[in-house]
Every structure is written in C-alpha cells, then in structure tokens.
C-alpha cells in the first residue's frame, strides 16, 4: 500500500530538552532505504541525542517520527527494535564471558528451552548471509574491539534491522579495521540496509556515505549529497565558519638541549602486565613531540609515569639534570613538570570549589602555618579566571563546570607555574571547537616560551596540527620518531597498527 518511495525513516521537527539544555532544536532528518547517511557535527551538536530519540531511548518533547511511512512512537528501544531499527553505540553492550552466539540470541529468542546448537547454526547462517566474518563459537572476551563491533552489528541484523545506527564506529578502530568495517557496510547497503553513520571525521564521511546531514547546536543545518560536496564545505557547515589551517611557524632551532628524557623505561599496567617496554624518548626545549598511537598501547601508563602516579620497573626519567624516576607527584612538580591528564574528572576534586582545586597542588603557598588563607585562595582563583577566560566563579563546585571550562582550570593551574616540561594527554577530547582551539593556542604559546611539550593524543589531526616531531607508540614501544614533514596519516596509520617502518 505504501508508495515505494517512502523513506525508511523520517523525523520531523524533533525537539529534546534536558533541563535548560536544548539538545535537539526542531531537527529534521530523512533516511532513504539502502543509503549510508552521515550525521555529522561536533561534540555536543546533538547527533547522538537525535539518534537515541529514533532508537526509543529518549522520548522527544515535540516532533514526529515515521518509519517506512507509518507514524511511530517508541517508549523504549524494544519498540524501535521491533520496527527494524538497530543501534551500535561506542560502548558495546556485550556479555564478555559468553560466546558470540549467546550474545546474539540473548533477548532475541523467545521460549524455552534454548537449543544452542541450532542457535549457533542460525547465527552462522546470518553472519554468512550478511557477509560478516566472525566465529559464532568464540568467546567475546577473546575478541578484538573490531570483532566485538561486528558482533554488535550482527546482533542488530539478527533482530531483522533494516535501519542500522552506528555511533562513531571508527573511534575505537585501527585504520585497517575501519576499512574492513566500510567494506562490510557497502555489502549490507547492497542488500538494502539503511545506515546512519554518526561521525565528526570528515574524511570518513567523504569516503563511505551517500548523503550527509550536518548538525550544529541541536539543529540540522543542511543535508547534501556526498558526491556534490567537499571536506571544506562540510567543515564550514559543521563549525559555522571556515577551519583555519594551523599557522605556519618556524621549526625549533636544531641544537636545543633535551628537557625531558625517558631512558629504557619499563612499567606495568593495573593487571601487572608489561605496558611500557624499555621505552626511550627525548623532548627538547621549545618543541612539541606528539605521541601517536591507538588507545591502549601504553599511553595511559606513560602519562602516569610522568605524573608520578605509576612506578617504573626499570629505566630512568630525567627532567634536565633532575632524576624523577619513581618520584611522587610533589617532586615531579617541583622538578618543573606540568601535567594535563587525560581524565579531567580524576584530576580534580569534583565536590570542591574552583578556587580550592586551583590551590590544591601547592597548598603550602596558600596556608602559612597550616591555616588556609581563604582570601588569598580566592584572589588567586579570580586572577586565573580572568587570565584564562574561564566561565566560572571561584566558589563554584568544579564538577558543575563544562568540559572546556574544567580543562581551562587545569591548564591555568599548570601553566601559571611556567613548567619546563609539559605532559599533556588528550587535551581536547570532548571539548567543542572553540575550547579546543583555545587549548591548542595555549600549547603553542608554551612551545614558544621554551617549554618541552609531550602531547599524547589519539587524534591524529591534532598531532599533525601541533607537533614538531611525531613518535608512534605501539605495544609499549616507540616504533618510530618522524619529523612532521615526513609524517602523513597513511604512514602513521601503518606504524600505529604495528607495521614496522
């Protein structure tokens, strides 16, 4: 009865508020059958919220949804699943001790008893027909991240999904795994599946999608055919202005002394397994060294070693002539190391005020004879808030700040002491473009001042934009150190996946 042209999904004028925050503001979205459709936007633009509305996870405040031309109203994901909508989030919902088959049929099969052998045959058949390469008998805990993602996709398809929502699927993948995912999506597309591809990575969007809907500030700003657009245009739509290319800057003088030296450093992760294996690296005065790598190759442990919160089992760490091997955080700071950690929330006391957090690392200076000088602490905070343009008051509890402002507090606390060495991990993760640019500007300022900056980041664009030299970490070893001029994402991608240069 339906006209064949009716779209797979049509969302009209969807508005979703969370308290004072408008996550979706009269957003429209149309998904045709058999297309791969990018939902592009910065962090916080409302992409995930809009798709969670479609998946029945949130109820919209206003607006309507049709699926295959029929009005739909979902009060839970279960309703969306019966309408053929599946969603794979960044955080997989898999039971690790169970097998692929058990995970796939979990909740999808009705009645008892469960015939696992038959289920395994059905899952095997489904995997084959969808062209998904996975062993149905494997335990999920033994699978790589890329394989687990395939299990999630198979789960959705097994429940007869005709619309598949993928929320930043490549964020956790190696470049090679991403290519494999794209090939699988193409095959599924040819079988008539419609895919929503949530991303903020322009090159992926250009590579894989047929259409792009750009979101900004909760609104859908535009929908364009991928074939008729360019990365530059998409970037402009995304941020509402053109991205400025990183400013050209003079290379640091060649003969600067080494400020931070890691000499054959080994350390273990929380499970007691080797995380850093005789790692050596030097950062010179006035340069930014970018540490590139896929998440989980020792970056977290390295940052902790340099922060004084993880012990090394071998090797030495030197800041200029000071040996800070296994020094506690206080001595590490005294040696002139400033630390911007990956987990912002774990480096501040959320229930304490902005002013208290700004003073926490150097309480001695704010408390003659052990008594807190509250006026001094507040004055100090006011001054940093002005200097670093932080949108907060000294007495605000720091956990109420936005990610960007919290990061500025941490930056202010570190940079006001003009550290000789700066260890920075994922400094713009989760920040909007404005805050991200601010952080990048501050890092370049530190470099110009003569600080040695180690920038640990999983965002290659960030590393390529800032670093003078790029070190690639793989399984706790430095695989290569390249001058920026010799580094491109192709070559880095290979090194990051463990291919020896």
């Amino acid at each position: 009865m339906q006209p064949p042209a009716s779209p797979a999904v049509q969302m009209r004028s969807i508005t979703k508020r969370f308290g004072a925050l408008i996550a979706n503001d009269a957003a429209d979205f149309t998904l045709r059958r058999g297309q791969i459709h990018a939902l592009l936007g910065e962090n916080g633009a409302g992409k995930t919220t809009l798709m969670r509305v479609l998946y029945g996870f949130y109820r919209p405040d206003t607006g309507s949804i049709t699926v295959n031309g029929q009005p739909a109203s979902f009060s839970a994901p279960r309703d969306a699943i019966t309408q053929g909508i599946g969603m794979v989030t960044q955080h997989f919902a898999l039971a690790l001790p169970l097998t692929v088959t058990e995970n796939v049929v979990l909740g999808a099969e009705r009645g008892l008893p469960l015939d696992l052998a038959a289920a395994q045959r059905r899952v095997q058949a489904a995997a084959q027909s969808f062209g998904i390469d996975i062993d149905p008998a494997a335990r999920v805990r033994d699978l790589s991240i890329g394989q687990r993602q395939r299990v999630e996709i198979l789960k959705a398809l097994y429940r007869k999904a005709t619309v598949l929502i993928l929320d930043e699927p490549t964020a956790v993948l190696l470049p090679q795994e991403a290519d494999e995912l794209f090939r699988a999506l193409r095959r599924l597309q040819n079988q008539g599946l419609a895919v929503v591809f949530i991303s903020h990575k322009l090159h992926e969007v250009m590579a894989i999608t047929d259409q792009v809907t750009v979101m900004r500030n909760g609104r859908t700003v535009n929908t364009v055919d991928t074939a008729h657009t360019t990365q530059a245009e998409l970037a402009r739509l995304m941020v509402g202005r053109s991205l400025t290319p990183p400013p050209a800057r003079p290379a640091p003088p060649a003969d600067q002394p080494v400020a931070l030296r890691l000499d054959q450093v080994s350390a273990q992760d929380n499970k007691g397994l080797p995380a850093l294996k005789a790692l050596s690296l030097a950062v010179h005065v006035g340069e930014i060294v970018g540490l590139a790598g896929v998440s989980g190759n020792g970056q977290v442990e390295l940052a902790e070693v340099l922060s004084g919160t993880r012990r090394v089992t071998a090797g030495r760490v030197l800041v200029e002539d000071t040996d800070i091997t296994n020094a506690d955080p206080r001595r590490v700071m005294q040696a002139g190391v400033g630390r911007i950690p990956e987990d912002r929330h774990a480096s501040v006391v959320g229930e304490m005020t902005v002013a208290q957090n700004m003073a926490l690392e150097h309480l001695g200076e704010f408390s003659p004879r052990g008594l807190l000088d509250k006026a001094h602490i507040t004055r100090h905070a006011e001054q940093l808030i002005t200097t670093y343009q932080i949108k907060a008051r000294p007495d605000d509890r720091i956990r109420t700040l936005s990610g960007g402002n919290m990061q500025k507090v941490i930056l202010a606390r570190v940079l006001e002491r003009a550290p000789r060495v700066l260890v920075v991990a994922q400094p713009t993760r989760g920040l909007d473009v404005g805050a991200g640019e601010y952080v990048h500007g501050k890092l370049l300022e530190q470099r110009a001042r003569g600080a040695a900056v180690l920038l640990i980041s999983e965002d290659l664009e960030e590393i390529l934009a800032l670093a003078d030299r790029i070190a690639v970490i793989y399984e706790g070893e430095i695989r290569a150190v390249l001058p920026r001029a010799e580094a491109d994402s192709q070559r880095l991608g290979l090194l990051m996946s463990g291919v020896r240069a």
Binding site: P60, S73, S307, S347, T400
Partner: protein, 353 residues
C-alpha cells in the same frame, strides 16, 4: 515512569535531615498505635516534654555528651574517606585507659589527673584504630570489616578485665573499683549530672569544624575522602593523610569513653558504651558529615533518648521505642541520601504522543 540520575540541588541537602525526621515519625506512629498509645501524645513526650523543665533539658545534654564525641569521630573518619565502624571499640579502649589512669590518681591533683586521663583515653582510642588503619594503608584491607570486628574484641577484653584483675573486691560485681576522687569530672551545674565531658565534647566539635574548614590538613583530609585519585595526583600523601584521619578519629572516640567513666559511672562496666559508637554513625550521617550538623544531630538524638523514658513513664509504651525510632531515622536518612541523586519523571503513556 523513568528514573534519571542527577545532582542534588543545595537546598535539598538541607531539607533531607528534616524530611527524614518527618517520615520517621510517620512510619513509627504505626508502632505507637500498636502499643495502644496516641502517636501525637507520644511525640509530645518524645520531643517537647524533655524541653519543658530544667532538669530534663540538662539530661538531654548529658545524654548527648558521648554522642557528640562519637559523632565527631565518625564525621571526621567518613569525611576523610576512612569508613570507621569501630567507634564503639575505640570508646571502650578509651574508657579502659581512663579507668587504668583514674585508679592510680589517689594522691594527685585534678589538674594532673584529668588531663592525664583525657590523654590516655585519646591514645588508647587511636591505638585501637591503628591496626585497621595500618592494614588499610599498607595492605588495602577493607577497614569496614576490621574496625567492626574489633568492637567485639574490645568488649570481650573489657569483660575479661572486669571478671579478672579489676573485679570489684568489695561487691564482687564484674565492675572495676571506683576511680580516685581527683579523677572525677567536675560538675558544670551543681547537683546535676552535667559534667566536664560536655564541655570537652563541644570543644571537640568546634575544633573539628576548624580543622576541616580552615586548615591545610583538613582540606587535604577532605580531598582524600572525596577523590583519592585526584588527591594523589595533586601531590597529597594519600596514605599518610588517611592514617592521620583514622588515628584522630579513633582518639576522639576514645575521649567519649573517658567522659563516660569520669563523668557518669566512675568505674568501668561492660555496659559503659551501650552502643554510643554505633549511634555515632547515625549522628554523623544525619549531620551530613559536617561537624556542626553532627552537633545538632547528637543533641536531637539526646532529646529522643530522654524522651523515650518520659514517654514510657507517661504512656506505658516500651522504652525500646526510642531505639526503634533512631534506627528508622538512620534508614530514612540513608534512603533519602541515595534518592536525592535521582529524580522520578512521570512520562505519558505510550501512544499518547
């Protein structure tokens, strides 16, 4: 209906203890009806009658004295991230040490005897918590279990003393001989039971407030309690700070034991505490881990405690009703503290959109 996580607004935190009290009285009124009494009348005796005359007001303060101290001890421990469930045992240790000193003070002046007893009680409480504290800091052994278990050890230890070397030689009761007159706390009001211990307790509450809010050490203790990882990152010696928190907490609980021996009983009995250490947990929780809040909570519980005797006298209901009310109050407070992090949203029925 949906339950969402969110942070509690500030005004709600202040309202929670009051709401807990109201809900508690609503729930316990059923029990009062079962005891064939009028709940409103009962609450009059619980809350208002003790405040109607000087004698019982003083009695409220007397009853509050050990609770101010154990409440302060638990408040400090919990605020500093050390889950001390052992104030009961530390109180007993303090009481034992105070008795040991007090028995030797027959020739001393009170100016020597009393400070010496306070010091000994504090040291004994700190020593009693030192083992769990060191096990926590050095071996990461959960202090909830170890501090709790040591309560029984302390009680058995006191029992052994009272049935052995300290058995009263005259009466042969399992109680120690009386401490020296010089060691007995002076009365604050003549011919009443209100003693120096109350003053000590109020002073401890005020000092604790000052420590936590005005000193570097206090800020470090709270940082360790709220976010140990962030505290370590900021260069605060987490283990050493935890150890200080624990020892100070144990010491304060020990003072409660000194106060009960030297202010009320004058000798050691095995019922010297009667659960003041556990009630300290209620005090600290009800007080929102704020020393001044704990002070108010201790006074309130002292009031209910006094009231439970007058209600029992006047209406013939069991005196245990007071305990039931306090236990219900703790449960209500804990439930509300948990619930404040969520809010319930009523959503329309499916299809109504």
């Amino acid at each position: 209906m949906k339950i969402e996580r969110r942070a509690a607004p500030l005004w709600l935190r202040a309202v929670i203890p009051l709401l807990a009290v109201v809900l508690t009285f609503a729930v316990t009124s059923a029990l009062i009806l079962l005891a064939r009494a009028n709940p409103l009348q009962a609450y009059y005796y619980f809350l208002l009658e003790p405040l109607s005359n000087r004698v019982s007001i003083i009695e409220v303060l007397v009853k509050s004295t050990p609770l101010l101290l154990t409440g302060a001890a638990v408040t400090l421990a919990f605020a500093g991230g050390f889950w001390n469930i052992g104030a009961e045992g530390q109180l007993l240790a303090g009481a034992t040490a105070a008795t040991a000193v007090g028995l030797q003070m027959h020739t001393a002046s009170p100016l020597i005897a009393i400070p010496l007893m306070l010091l000994a009680g504090f040291a004994a409480g700190a020593a009693w918590i030192a083992v769990p504290a060191l096990m926590k800091v050095k071996l990461a052994i959960d202090e909830v279990v170890t501090t709790l278990l040591l309560n029984s050890v302390a009680l058995l230890g006191v029992s052994a003393l009272l049935n052995g070397p300290w058995r009263d030689p005259i009466s042969q009761w399992p109680q120690s001989p009386e401490i020296a007159a010089a060691a007995i706390f002076p009365r604050l009001i003549p011919r009443s039971r209100l003693h120096l211990g109350f003053l000590v307790a109020v002073l401890v509450i005020l000092l604790l407030w000052f420590l936590l809010n005005r000193t570097t050490l206090g800020l470090q203790m709270r940082a360790v309690g709220l976010a140990p990882q962030a505290a370590r990152f900021a260069g605060i010696p987490v283990e050493r700070t935890l150890l200080r928190t624990a020892l100070l907490s144990g010491g304060i609980a020990g003072l409660a034991g000194v106060s009960e021996v030297a202010g009320i009983h004058y000798h050691l009995i095995d019922a010297i505490s009667g659960g003041h250490g556990y009630t300290g947990i209620i005090v600290a929780t009800l007080g929102g881990l704020n020393p001044l809040g704990a002070g108010l909570a201790a006074l309130f519980i002292g009031l209910v405690d006094t009231g439970s005797q007058s209600v029992s006298r006047a209406l013939g209901v069991p005196v245990y009703l007071g305990d039931v009310i306090l236990a219900t109050l703790l449960l209500m407070t804990l439930a509300l503290l948990l619930l404040q992090r969520y809010r319930i949203r009523w959503t329309r029925d499916r299809g109504a959109m």
